[in-house]
């Protein structure tokens, strides 16, 4: 990011010139403290009807005040307030907000440049993975043997829940955040997103949410698992308030981001970029955020209701009092299933985007890729109750949900067709991003097929709620989704950082983590089949070997991932400088210089073909087209 000659910082920006992460934290802490103090005086810290439900009210109000303070301190409200006062932003303000010539300080401010926001997302995603990874190591250490009790079931349950939600948030944003932001606008030939300030807002809402999420550590944790089922959640300590506030704010962030990305891609593609010429990665990102738009609000609703139940004594989820715990379960899974495709699709789409680059032939059957993605998105909103086969909620619906769930295997199969077809007869340039595709395909085939087993209702009788489920979703979300994200990081590394990713050290890290990954979760399939339930802090001696193996595998993942992280850090700070297009790729982001200029393009491009025109045209089996001459009639 070093520019040797920087021009002057633009005038404009007004109050925004003084606001940054520091002022945000300061204002957030002050507001939060005021909220805590006043609500503590009003409600007290007791719990329950005799105590005015004080404890949860105090924490929810504190966290809300922190959020408002933080967002005020970063300048999120400055734009809307100025507009209400009749002073919309001028060109100089826009240039200032875009971070022009501000060097490294622009990463700590409400900067609207999509490239800055992409890097901000990348850093925060890596931080979340780091925290989630540490929690995973704690979990596996506590399970290393039947009788190990490093910290007892109370803390264990809290660690499990926190690990789950931290990883879910990290995986949701891991590709659309960094690369949906940095790459997509350039890839479609635009100068920035449709709503740059909304873009900054969606990132800073995440930054605001991370301390709220981590506050659970001090408030008794999230001992319900990341799914926070009711009515179990209503017995849990105030860590659940951290959880529900995190989800509510996160849903706002992802909704804003979704609206922004979809508008950008629909309205701001360069001239000539028809839908047939739009890169598949763009489709993947749009599909993911588009799916999140209807899905996450149900999650948000479920948590708002939880908050109201906790803080005011309503009984929405209390069956005995007239409520219905299945309301929660349905609201949660209405989000929960689409959400896994929100996580999975961008990573797959990134890999579909760059596999042609490394095999130097077109993406096989682009239309199948689009239809596959669309089919997954469409079906994913109709399968949620396969998570509820065993609840007894609606046994007559088990069969229809089995139908819709098994149908998803068809569009998913089409995505496999695209990968296999692209690999077919392609001479491989074996760089590390390409090798990651092999790892992803191996993991995804295992994850996908075990998902089919789970979708069968009678089989689910044996496997639901067991470690088999845990292994299945780690194979799909981590083995396919995260590996896709790691591939995206390695592929776009030269464009984002201006340096080449160290494939030697990075390769060691990647493959060590992959070996560890397969050992860990194969062990979990085994103990799940043998009868070990999920989320248990202690287990029968029957499962001892499997758990020991899983723990050894987990430590291996940790070592591998840390080496990979070291490669990222080292390459970013002192790696070999990259040219503008080291891969010789055809998509637009590789046609602009590195580092990418503030406004991306000198002149907006006009598109005349799709970006997959690689390879030597086949002479056999393809009709030769002859140009039509004026006056010819056929």
């Amino acid at each position: 990011m070093s520019t040797t000659t920087r021009g002057p910082i633009p005038n404009g920006g007004g109050l925004m010139r003084r606001l940054n992460l520091g002022t945000a934290i300061l204002t957030g802490v002050v507001f939060g403290f005021v909220g805590w103090y006043i609500s503590g005086k009003l409600f007290g810290f007791g719990d329950g009807p005799d105590n005015g439900w004080g404890r949860d009210r105090v924490w929810i109000i504190t966290m809300t005040m922190w959020a408002i303070g933080f967002m005020a301190g970063i300048g999120a409200f400055v734009g809307p307030i100025r507009w209400l006062m009749g002073r919309d932003q001028q060109f100089e303000d826009q240039m200032y907000l875009a971070g022009k010539n501000q060097g490294i300080s622009r990463y700590f401010k409400f900067t609207t440049d999509h490239k800055v926001i992409g890097i901000q997302y990348l850093i925060i995603t890596m931080l979340l993975f780091f925290v989630g990874g540490i929690l995973a190591m704690l979990i596996r250490t506590d399970l290393i043997s039947k009788n190990t009790e490093i910290f007892g079931p109370q803390t264990y349950n809290a660690v499990v829940g926190l690990h789950g939600i931290v990883m879910i948030i990290a995986t949701i944003i891991m590709v659309t955040g960094p690369f949906g932001n940095f790459v997509v606008p350039i890839m479609i030939g635009a100068r920035d997103m449709a709503f740059p300030r909304l873009n900054a807002l969606s990132f800073w809402l995440i930054a605001c949410v991370v301390p709220i999420l981590l506050s659970a550590v001090f408030l008794g944790g999230i001992p319900t698992g990341w799914s926070a089922y009711e009515p179990l959640g209503s017995q849990a300590p105030p860590g659940m308030d951290s959880y529900l506030m995190t989800i509510i704010i996160f849903a706002i962030s992802s909704g804003v981001a979704g609206a922004n990305i979809i508008t950008t891609v629909v309205k701001m593609r360069a001239r000539g970029m028809t839908w047939n010429r739009t890169p598949i990665f763009v489709y993947g990102v749009v599909a993911s955020v588009g799916l999140a738009l209807p899905a996450f609000p149900t999650f948000m609703a479920s948590q708002i209701i939880s908050g109201v139940d906790r803080a005011t004594g309503t009984v929405f989820y209390d069956t005995a009092a007239g409520g219905n715990d299945w309301l929660y379960t349905n609201l949660f899974w209405l989000m929960g299933h689409p959400e896994v495709y929100v996580i999975l699709i961008p990573g797959l789409a990134a890999m579909m985007e760059y596999v042609p680059v490394f095999v130097r032939k077109p993406l096989f059957n682009f239309n199948a890729a689009v239809i596959g993605i669309a089919g997954i998105v469409g079906l994913s909103v109709m399968v949620w109750a396969h998570h509820m086969y065993m609840t007894g909620w609606a046994p007559n619906l088990n069969a229809p949900f089995m139908l819709t769930t098994e149908l998803i295997s068809v569009p998913t199969g089409m995505l496999f067709l695209v990968f296999v077809g692209t690999l077919w007869r392609g001479k491989v340039w074996a760089r590390l991003p390409m090798l990651a595709i092999y790892a992803m395909l191996w993991n995804f085939i295992i994850g996908g097929i075990t998902g089919i087993y789970l979708s069968d209702v009678p089989v689910d009788v044996a496997l639901h709620g067991s470690m088999y489920v845990t292994a299945h979703f780690h194979y799909t979300l981590m083995g396919a989704g995260l590996v896709g994200a790691m591939g995206a990081v390695m592929y776009w590394f030269p464009k984002v950082t201006g340096r080449m990713f160290d494939e030697k050290i990075g390769g060691w890290g990647f493959w060590i983590s992959q070996i560890g990954f397969n050992v860990t979760f194969m062990g979990m399939f085994a103990v799940g089949l043998a009868g070990q339930p999920r989320r248990v802090s202690a287990y029968s001696s029957l499962f001892a070997h499997g758990n020991f193996i899983s723990t050894m595998g987990a430590y291996t993942i940790f070592i591998g991932m840390l080496i990979f992280l070291a490669a990222i850090i080292h390459s970013w700070t002192s790696g070999e400088k990259a040219t503008a297009n080291p891969w010789g790729a055809k998509t637009l982001e590789w046609q602009v210089p590195t580092p990418v200029p503030l406004e991306n393009f000198e002149v907006l491009p006009i598109i005349t073909s799709d970006p997959y025109g690689y390879g030597v045209p086949e002479k056999i089996n393809e009709p030769q087209l002859e140009p039509v001459h004026a006056g010819d009639h056929r």
Binding site: I134, Q154, W508, S574
Partner: protein, 235 residues
């Protein structure tokens, strides 16, 4: 070389962080010294002559007398068992436990736990199998409407240790016998015996819900170790 060094340092720092956090969590979750059953002689049981061990616990309406010390720790108003919630028992023995119950109470969530289960006769006090001695009288169940606490041992269905399920209800001290401060002079005294099997690790918890303000009153104190739940180590 610098790259390898960076990788090594990152791995070591990561491992140190995990180790540090795990150690911190371990230390902050350490329970106080367990209460150990004392073996005094042998007894004749249905399984032959076994060592006879004795152990005494109490249940209190606050946390001032148990393992949390006279200040009561972080939740002095939470009910607690004492002197410790970690219990150590000898394997293949007849264990006679006496619990002194100082707390008031109301109705159970599940009336099943008002019945005595898993006990054997205590030699010499008139109880039969499946009974307990309540203030000098052998009973096999009490009213589920007026329970102070229960002592319930749970097992893990595992081939490596014998099953061990014991449940005794501890009736509540009536509300008018509860003093404004200190403990009642007329607690209930419950004595019961059971036979331990092979060595193993078990848990116990109280099934009377005293987590006021939470759903079904089973949150807060009920979900926290060292108050109304603990471990039983048979060795």
């Amino acid at each position: 070389m610098k790259r390898v060094f960076t990788a090594l340092v990152t791995v070591l720092l990561g491992a140190a962080l995990v180790f540090g956090i795990a150690s911190f969590l371990h230390v902050s979750n350490l329970q106080n010294a367990p209460v150990v059953a004392e073996v005094r002689g042998t007894a004749q049981t249905a399984q032959g002559v076994l060592p006879h061990a004795f152990i005494a616990l109490s249940t209190y309406p606050d946390s001032l007398a148990g393992e949390h010390g006279p200040s009561g720790g972080s939740h002095p108003d939470w009910v607690s068992y004492g002197p410790s919630t970690d219990i150590s028992l000898p394997a293949h023995s007849l264990v006679t436990m006496t619990i002194t119950q100082y707390d008031s109470g109301e109705v159970l969530n599940n009336p099943y736990f008002a019945k005595v289960a898993g006990t054997v006769a205590t030699p010499g006090d008139g109880t039969a199998d499946g009974q307990m001695l309540l203030d000098g009288r052998p009973v096999s169940q009490v009213s589920p409407e007026h329970i102070g606490h229960t002592f319930t041992i749970h097992e893990l269905s595992s081939p490596s240790q014998d099953n061990l399920f014991v449940n005794v209800p501890l009736p509540a001290v009536s509300d008018d016998a509860m003093p404004d401060s200190g403990y009642t002079k007329t607690p209930h005294v419950i004595t019961f015996s059971f036979i331990t099997g092979s060595a193993g690790k078990y848990v116990w918890n109280c099934e009377y819900p005293c987590g006021d303000g939470t759903y079904r009153k089973f949150g807060d104190v009920m979900g926290a170790r060292s108050f109304m739940s603990g471990t039983v180590t048979v060795a």
